[in-house]
């Protein structure tokens, strides 16, 4: 063993060279030292064969490097409790289950972060490999931020250990990743330069840059924009929705003339969120041209309104702002009606300031183009979150849905619009509304509202929903038939409150299903109970030490 490396001290170098070029061209030379006594047979091939065997073993037996060349990594002291073994095992299972449970990984991390738990160090690479959403980066930092930073430092210190970027590049170049893993960019991205790496890495880095300093990030992007490829331009532009402000307006406006459709669409998506932008001004002007309410006074006191609609024509300036008919529209509508709807969707609500919201909505309901107008209003409201419009939409649509608005027939469109408007309510109000519907006889509005609704329910509301569901599934095919639509039931598992009581309530519903129960719905109910049980189990596993 030596501190320096003397490759040929044992004669292995020349022996290997001879083996490579062959005994015919390089007659076997005698090894030095203790192997000098190797017997010669006169057959060059045989002698060389004996020599590589003996010298090779001798060479390997002497392998080893002295302590001088070794540099230990710095120790790391973890702060905070490590998550319990059962929870750690769950993490390994979840992260191995592929895409099907990616939401569950996020939930696991969330529960861990709330409990102040750290991820056990031996699992860190799994967390690094996990490609979550942008939000998962924060979770990652909160359950293993210090550990990941230390690990990166430690790996950086081992100089020629492939860094993450290198590992990715080399594995991509080789077209395979089995020698060294392509490690996800997660940890490195936060500190990395956004101009280097793969597009996903760069986008992540740019998003972080934008979060730190929106102004500088936009200026940097503006400077480099022309030289980027189309998909990169669209990806970076999409990241501007982090910290979007009016200062971004000129740049976004200029992007409406970009060569790439994706870039134009991204700009069209972001601009409506900038009050006072030229984009919104143009839309407001178009609304004024298309819609007009005429007032007719009757007997001095009562007023009668009439909505006059001038459908817009297709035009290049409309196309520039993303207003064009789609062949793939979900509802069947005429081309011009589609243009009208899109103008409304992207218009500022102040364009309707001439009359109260209620008047506009009533007139829209009575109009020939009621579904286009309604969809436009609901979309504009949910973008601007205007409270007077929200309340007017809810109250007017509720009247119309109940058939109490003169001249308006209740329809599926009205019901869906109402459900979408209700989704704008604060959580507690929304749950109160739906809890009331649970007790009412009709199902259509309830189901539509729940489809549109919240991604997490309070314990009180979960209990109410499960009570209602337990009654429903006992009611026979007429009662359960409507539940088969959509994936409402199986999604309940993700939305319900993950307490043990709710878990038990869901399990009870499943266990009491009659034998001849609808197979599809049974599957959905099972899925719901399993998902909820998994979520409750995740929490239990953190609670038990």
């Amino acid at each position: 063993m030596s501190d320096g490396i003397a490759i040929d001290a044992d004669g292995w170098g020349p022996t290997l060279a001879a083996a490579l070029i062959g005994a015919e061209r390089a007659p076997a030379r005698q090894a030095a030292g203790p192997l000098a006594e190797l017997p010669q047979t006169g057959d060059a091939g045989g002698d060389l064969l004996a020599q590589i065997g003996a010298v090779g073993a001798y060479h390997l037996a002497g392998a080893g490097i002295g302590p001088g060349a070794f540099a230990p990594i710095e120790p790391f002291e973890a702060v905070g409790p490590e998550c319990p073994p059962a929870a750690a095992a769950r993490f390994v299972t979840l992260i191995g289950s592929g895409g099907s449970q990616s939401g569950m990984i996020e939930e696991w991390c969330d529960v861990a972060a709330q409990g102040g738990f750290r991820l056990p160090p031996e699992l860190l690479p799994l967390l690094e490999d996990w490609r979550g959403t942008h939000a998962s980066e924060a979770l990652r930092q909160s359950i293993a931020g210090a550990e990941l930073a230390w690990l990166d430092r430690a790996c950086g210190a081992a100089a020629s250990e492939p860094t993450k970027g290198d590992a990715m590049d080399s594995s991509e170049a080789a077209g395979e990743g089995d020698a060294e893993p392509a490690i996800a960019p997660a940890g490195a991205a936060s500190g990395a330069d956004w101009t280097e790496g793969t597009l996903a890495v760069r986008r992540e880095a740019f998003a972080n840059f934008r979060e730190r300093d929106p102004e500088a990030a936009r200026k940097a992007l503006e400077g480099a924009f022309k030289s980027e490829k189309a998909d990169a331009r669209a990806a970076f532009l999409g990241a501007l929705d982090i910290g979007l402000s009016f200062a971004d307006e000129p740049f976004l406006e200029s992007c409406l003339d970009d060569r790439a459709g994706d870039v134009r669409r991204t700009a069209q998506r972001l601009l409506p969120y900038l009050p006072g932008s030229r984009f919104l001004e143009r839309m407001a002007a178009r609304v004024t041209a298309a819609l007009r309410i005429d007032e007719q006074r009757h007997m001095i006191v009562s007023k009668k309104h009439a909505l006059a609609v001038t459908l817009p024509e297709e035009a290049p300036d409309l196309v520039r702002d993303g207003v064009e008919p789609s062949q793939y529209a979900w509802k069947k509508k005429g081309a011009k009606a589609q243009l009208l709807e899109q103008i409304l969707r992207h218009a500022p609500l102040k364009a309707f300031a001439s009359h109260p919201p209620k008047v506009w909505i009533e007139q829209a309901l009575k109009s020939e183009w009621s579904d286009s107008l309604l969809d436009g209003f609901v979309a504009a409201q949910s973008r601007e979150r205007d409270l007077s419009w929200r309340d007017a939409l809810i109250s007017t649509l509720r009247e119309a849905n109940a058939g109490k608005l003169a001249g308006v027939k209740p329809s599926g469109d009205i019901r869906d619009a109402l459900a979408r408007s209700l989704a704008g309510l604060p959580q507690a109000d929304w749950e109160r509304e739906v809890a009331r519907m649970l007790k009412a006889p009709g199902l259509d509005l309830l189901l539509a509202t729940m489809e549109q609704g919240r991604e997490s329910y309070s314990p009180f509301f979960t209990a109410a929903v499960f009570d209602w569901l337990a009654l429903r599934v006992r009611g026979g095919p007429e009662s359960t038939g409507p539940l088969r639509k959509g994936s409402l039931i199986s999604r309940l598992g993700k939305r319900a409150d993950p307490s043990e009581d709710c878990e038990a309530a869901a399990a009870a519903i499943v266990s009491r299903l009659p034998d001849d129960f609808d197979t599809y719905l049974r599957h959905q109910l099972n899925h719901m109970a399993e998902t909820l049980s998994l979520r409750a189990t995740i929490r239990r596993e953190f609670a038990t030490r």
Binding site: P125, A158, S533
Partner: protein, 459 residues
């Protein structure tokens, strides 16, 4: 004592069974769950008309299920054991139904029969016929070795640089000839040669040509020694016979002396050929300090036998196969036991580890790797043998070793926390492939059947 979920999942024959087993691990899916001591049973609804009956003995671990699956253990048995592991209290003591009693009785009877058979006086051997068979095999092997010798000498005359372009058939033909000549272990070595040339560059591994030269050198050594068996000591000759592929008969193995000890199960490793799964269970004796490799083969038709899980102890007797240095062994009587905290049995510093490697090579120079047990080493950046690259590795006051670069290295570094660790791994003269790690009383192993970059904490 119960098994942990991770240990149960290690019993699974493949990844899909592992996943399916976890799906069955929900108490709600089971009915009539009960236990008597270590024996647990239950019924589960499958696609069949009547529910499947599953029973498992955790002390084995062994299991039986009435489902038609050919996998063993099946997903139901895994699920049943996982239910027990997740909440041992959920399964209450109960009276054994007939089918459970039948199974436990059957096991006991089989064990007794096997014992009786082992104790019974051996049938008189027709020594003449035996000698004749042995001679026939020796002749066949000698012929195959002659052919291999010719082929290798020819190879050496041409030079190894020229064989890069040879097709797979070039190697496979020789390997096939060795199989016909009843030298299967040599055949495996020959068949592995083209893979060495085609291997992707990997940190810590030798260059393809160098790996090929060393592998051919080893084959040459076995060949040379195989023709001079008479001149070798019985143990050395046994090593060579094993390297050629002579089987060791059950009687010979039964006659080997037993080594009773509390064996720490250090790690499991699995190597998969296209049809053969070779599993090694690495043991270290707590009193004797001996190291043993329990090698079992599994094929699609006959699954791997159960093995004591990594991180626990195996308290009982093992017997070494004949050979020098002794390494391969079989388990005899004994059972899993809890593992006491403490240092890795028989471990030492890096210099003594390298000494043991050199010692092993001195007795068997055709070894391609050797298990090292190292204590109180730090993880850091080490030079590779060429002195040009830096890789993760270990070091102490007496020397340093690089790790073989692999996806799990990062997890290993993370688990060490930069502190002093005890380490078990396989060394090939170039780099160390770490398999188990002990830090501050915590033990981590590389999961044998899960390629993902993490370690499993087992204690």
């Amino acid at each position: 004592m119960g098994l942990t979920a991770a240990q149960i999942l290690d019993l699974a024959p493949d990844a899909s069974s592992r996943k399916a087993g976890q799906d069955q691990a929900k108490p709600a899916k089971w009915s009539a769950l009960a236990r008597t001591g270590e024996v647990i049973w239950g019924e589960i609804k499958g696609s069949g008309a009547s529910p499947y009956r599953t029973v498992a003995d955790l002390s084995g671990p062994a299991s039986k299920c009435s489902c038609p699956s050919r996998k063993f253990p099946c997903k139901h048995a895994l699920g049943l054991m996982l239910v027990e592991a997740a909440s041992p209290d959920a399964i209450k003591e109960g009276e054994q139904p007939d089918w459970v009693t039948a199974w436990t009785k059957g096991r006991a009877t089989r064990a007794a029969t096997a014992e009786a058979k082992a104790d019974a006086p051996a049938k008189p051997v027709d020594e003449k016929a035996q000698a004749k068979r042995r001679q026939a095999r020796d002749d066949k092997v000698t012929a195959a070795l002659d052919e291999l010798d010719l082929w290798l000498r020819d190879l050496m005359r041409r030079g190894l640089a020229s064989v890069r372009t040879e097709p797979y058939a070039f190697w496979d033909r020789m390997a096939g000839r060795l199989v016909d000549g009843q030298a299967p272990a040599l055949a495996r070595r020959v068949r592995a040669l083209p893979g060495l040339l085609a291997a992707a560059p990997r940190g810590g591994a030798p260059k393809p040509e160098e790996a090929l030269a060393l592998a051919i050198g080893r084959i040459g050594l076995i060949l040379r020694a195989g023709r001079r068996l008479d001149a070798l000591s019985p143990e050395q000759a046994a090593s060579i016979r094993a390297a050629i592929g002579y089987p060791v008969s059950a009687e010979d193995l039964a006659a080997r002396p037993g080594h009773a000890d509390q064996w720490a199960v250090l790690a499991h490793t699995i190597e998969e050929d296209d049809k053969l799964t070779a599993r090694s269970v690495w043991l270290a004796g707590r009193q004797s300090g001996l190291l043993a490799q329990i090698l079992d083969y599994g094929t699609p038709g006959s699954p791997l036998p159960p093995a004591p899980p990594a991180g626990q102890d195996f308290s009982g007797e093992i017997a070494f196969y004949p050979g020098d240095p002794p390494l391969r062994a079989v388990l005899r009587d004994g059972k899993s036991a809890a593992s006491p905290a403490g240092p890795l049995p028989g471990s030492g510093d890096i210099a003594s580890g390298l000494q043991s490697w050199a010692g092993a090579l001195a007795s068997a120079p055709w070894l391609d790797r050797w298990p090292l047990r190292l204590s109180k080493v730090r993880i850091g950046s080490a030079l590779t043998g060429t002195g040009q690259d830096r890789l993760f590795g270990i070091g102490d006051a007496t020397g340093s070793l690089p790790f073989l670069a692999e996806p799990r290295t990062r997890a290993l570094v993370a688990a060490s926390g930069g502190r002093e660790v005890d380490l078990f791994g396989l060394y090939d003269g170039f780099a160390l492939n770490p398999l188990a790690l002990s830090v501050d009383g915590r033990i981590y192993v590389a999961p044998a059947q899960d390629p993902r970059p993490f370690l499993r904490r087992v204690a």
